[in-house]
């Protein structure tokens, strides 16, 4: 055996030895139990992320050349950011991963994680570039493949995203991949297929016993999809299941707030939103809480929440990057700073042409009285046929201002058919307008 071959074989054997530790388990897909029967007793408890961070910081202090520990630390900071909603965790993750790459420039796991950090920071183009580089040199790196798909989806390149997700499904039909396919079906206006896929994903995740937080996320998405289809009771049951699986899960708490508001149980809704906000003060939670206060004539409380939305949205550069669309929608939805809303929405549409980017810009144009521009962008937002009540409501209102009453009536009817509870503030308005339109036509 010549020396070169011997060295290659040596690395090969080492790879085998080390690789052996990754022989993960295999599990097939299964149905999802009734929401009431889900408690997550068999799921794994992950120790507090701060303890893990400390132990890996100590490891690095002992061996500052430990690129692998820097990479794991980066991953832990990502988890910290996700659990606490404090997006500065992504900056710490980025710093740790860059250290790892400084020590070992080609380290694919660190590069793939760094791409996911860029994605989390809504820098979709940089995420896509880096993930594509990783995937090109490592065609078996499914993590990079997932990030490419997610970034394409966020950039509005739906066909490219679907191609990647379908490819992943062939080799890796696991809950993360099924959940992505479910979201695609949701966007393409096939809510029943989407629900089927997300239920499959949730059932599989529950059976195979991942972390409580990840299983709770799948259950949350089941709840979301029921809600968006107007099936409020089922939605609430899965949000409750999600909360049983992962205690104090801020997204499930906010989901229940949304459900209770739809059921007219405003005190309970306020309580759930307050609990969610105490854990993670996300701008969309604050805006929803403000809306419920508004609806129940607690104007001062409402204004306080609305002011906090603006504050959080502008707190740091990174917050601006992550929350600018939410802020634009908040401004448009509450007739506040509508010029700024349009500026924010158009700036984002420059870099990211997905359907909700078109929707945000269309609605901001509408609020600025530019109905032709609004309609042109709204058509793009509805291009995929997404069955989202909000999109139909916006399209209906735009048509109304353009004096296309028949079209307006059709869109508003659709909005209320898809989900009569699509928004805390607007369904009544939509219903009133619709009744007026129907009455006018009857004459």
């Amino acid at each position: 055996m010549n020396k070169r071959k011997a060295i290659l074989l040596l690395f090969f054997i080492l790879a085998i030895l080390v690789h052996s530790r990754s022989n993960g388990p295999s599990v097939d897909a299964a149905g999802l139990p009734y929401a009431e029967d889900i408690n997550g007793d068999t799921l794994v408890n992950i120790p507090p992320v701060n303890d893990a961070i400390k132990s890996f910081q100590d490891r690095i202090r002992r061996n500052p050349k430990d690129a692998v520990s820097y990479t794991i630390l980066g991953d832990l900071y990502i988890r910290q950011a996700r659990e606490t909603g404090d997006v500065s965790g992504y900056q710490r993750a980025e710093a740790a991963l860059l250290q790892a790459l400084d020590l070992f420039p080609g380290y694919a796991p660190a590069r793939a994680l760094l791409a996911s950090v860029y994605y989390a920071q809504h820098d979709f183009n940089q995420a896509l570039d880096l993930a594509e580089q990783v995937y090109e040199s490592n065609p078996n790196n499914t993590s990079a493949q997932v990030i490419i798909g997610d970034a394409q989806l966020s950039l509005g390149n739906y066909q490219q995203a679907e191609t990647i997700y379908q490819e992943l499904r062939k080799t890796d039909a696991t809950p993360p991949v099924l959940a992505r396919l479910a979201h695609l079906q949701e966007l393409k206006g096939n809510p029943n297929e989407a629900l089927h896929l997300i239920r499959l994903a949730a059932g599989d995740a529950l059976r195979s016993g991942g972390s409580r937080e990840s299983v709770a996320w799948y259950l949350l998405r089941v709840g979301d999809m029921y809600f968006n289809m107007g099936q409020i009771k089922e939605s609430g049951a899965y949000y409750e299941a999600s909360l049983r699986v992962f205690e104090n899960y801020h997204l499930a708490l906010a989901g229940l707030g949304k459900v209770r508001a739809a059921q007219g149980k405003y005190d309970e809704a306020i309580d759930y939103y307050q609990r969610a906000i105490n854990i993670v003060p996300q701008p969309d939670f604050l805006a929803a809480l403000g809306d419920i206060y508004m609806l129940t004539d607690q104007t001062d409380e409402a204004q306080l929440q609305y002011k906090t939305v603006e504050y959080i949205g502008k707190l740091a550069e990174l917050n601006k990057q992550i929350y600018n669309r939410q802020l634009a929608n908040f401004y448009s939805g509450h007739d506040l700073h509508v010029k700024e809303a349009l500026r924010l929405a158009l700036a984002e549409l420059e870099s990211r042409k997905d359907i909700y980017g078109y929707d945000a810009a269309a609605w901001a144009y509408y609020k600025n009285g530019k109905f032709e521009e609004a309609q042109s962008l709204m058509n793009q937002a509805m291009d995929l046929g997404t069955r989202d009540a909000y999109l139909y409501y916006h399209a209906g209102m735009i048509a109304l201002r353009l004096r296309d009453e028949a079209q307006a009536r059709e869109y508003l009817e659709q909005a209320l058919t898809i989900n009569p509870h699509f928004s805390i503030l607007h369904p009544d308005e939509a219903r009133t307008i619709l009744e007026t339109l129907q009455a006018a036509e009857a004459k």
Binding site: K3, K5, A6, L8, L10, F11, F12, I13, A15, I16, L17, V18, H19, S20, R21, S22, G24, P25, S26, V27, D28, T42, V44, N45, A52, S55, R59, A67, V68, T71, I72, D75, I78, V87, L103, F104, Y107, A108, P109, S116, H122, S137, P139, N140, T142, S143, K170, T171, D172, T174, P176, A179, S208, G209, G210, E213, S214, R221, L251, Y323
Partner: protein, 342 residues
């Protein structure tokens, strides 16, 4: 040199999986972003890290069997075992790659202090069997008729300079990456006479809902030989890893020999007789051990066996003999032999 770093990189990708680097869901502030890819099966508690088999250092007529799970215990998980799942150590006494005896371990749900009930069963080839011992995790449980079982969190006995491997810079000076890390393990010591022969084959498997989730014999075959592996000559092809994890050793030659051969041919060239000889040795994926001998790897595997150094020496024909890392675990000569958790 370029080729070398590429190979090194692939090994690292493997490590990414091994350490769950892609196991933790990654999500942006937008909650529509789905979790990142999870390890196959999604539960590190069923993920086997290593299997050891050796003559007991404290009683030469006993055999010690160790099955590790839960890589990075305490970081990725709380170090418990999955209740409702089965953890099995299989013994083949006559070399036909079929189990003649199974030690099956199950656990109750953890209580508030993460203690779990442990039940050990001994199941003969024909099925049936009986409870051998019962007790709690993190305690030595004595087995009537001789021996002990203990299940709990321990120091990870594996040792290797992972960062040196990444940067192709061994012995500068050599640092054990696994120092200070933990796994969960089941340690079983039983009379060797129970196995009917001193020459036995050993493998471990985990089951959930009567379905096999993972299995392992030798320091691992699956991820490198079985598609999609880093050295797959055909490039990307559909994964057979779940099929391997769910498979039986007795079918390994039939089902997976082709995959082992096509990977080995990359290194040896097609038609090289060494390829066939190695494929005969590597499959079925069973750890063979003569329990009448105190010798270690490749006779079974002892905790302190430097599997990496042994392989280095074998493969390079003595040119490279060490990664300059030795075990730094405080193994003991008495049960349960593994070092306490860090």
């Amino acid at each position: 040199m370029k080729k070398l770093s590429t190979i090194g990189l692939y090994g690292l990708l493997a490590l990414a999986l091994a350490f769950g680097l892609v196991a933790v869901p990654t999500r942006a502030a937008d909650h529509l972003d789905a979790p990142g890819l999870t390890p196959p099966g999604g539960d590190t508690r069923l993920d086997i890290t290593d299997v050891y088999a050796f003559q007991s250092p404290s009683n030469p007529s006993n055999t010690v069997l160790v099955m590790g799970v839960n890589p990075l215990a305490g970081v990725l998980n709380d170090g418990t075992f999955r209740s409702g799942a089965s953890y099995e150590l299989k013994i083949d006494s006559d070399g036909d790659a079929k189990e003649d005896l199974t030690y099956k371990v199950t656990f109750s749900a953890p209580d508030g202090s993460l203690q779990q009930g442990v039940t050990l069963r001994r199941i003969p080839a024909g099925g049936g069997g009986s409870v051998l011992a019962k007790g709690q995790t993190n305690q030595n449980i004595s087995i009537p008729g001789g021996g002990w079982i203990r299940a709990g969190v321990f120091d990870d006995p594996f040792f290797f300079d992972l960062n040196a491997f990444l940067t192709v810079d061994f012995c500068n000076p050599g640092t054990n990456f696994f120092n200070g890390l933990n796994i969960s393990a089941i340690v079983l010591e039983v009379p060797s006479s129970w196995h009917g022969s001193s020459n036995i084959g050993v493998w471990a498997r985990t089951l959930l809902n009567d379905q096999q989730v993972d299995r392992m014999g030798r320091p691992a075959i699956n991820t490198v030989f079985i598609p999609n592996n880093p050295f797959e000559p055909k490039g990307t092809e559909p994964s057979q890893k779940n099929a391997f994890n769910g498979g039986k050793p007795r079918n390994d030659q039939r089902d997976f020999r082709g995959e082992v051969v096509d990977t080995l041919e990359i290194f040896y060239g097609a038609g090289n007789p060494t390829v066939d000889a190695l494929a005969d040795f590597l499959l079925p994926d069973i750890l063979t051990v003569d329990t009448s001998s105190l010798a270690g790897f490749p006779n079974g595997r002892r905790l302190a066996d430097d599997v990496i150094d042994i392989e280095l020496g074998l493969v390079t024909n003595g040119a490279v003999t060490s990664d300059c890392v030795a075990s730094d675990s405080a193994f003991t000569n008495s049960f349960p032999y593994l070092a306490p958790k860090n």
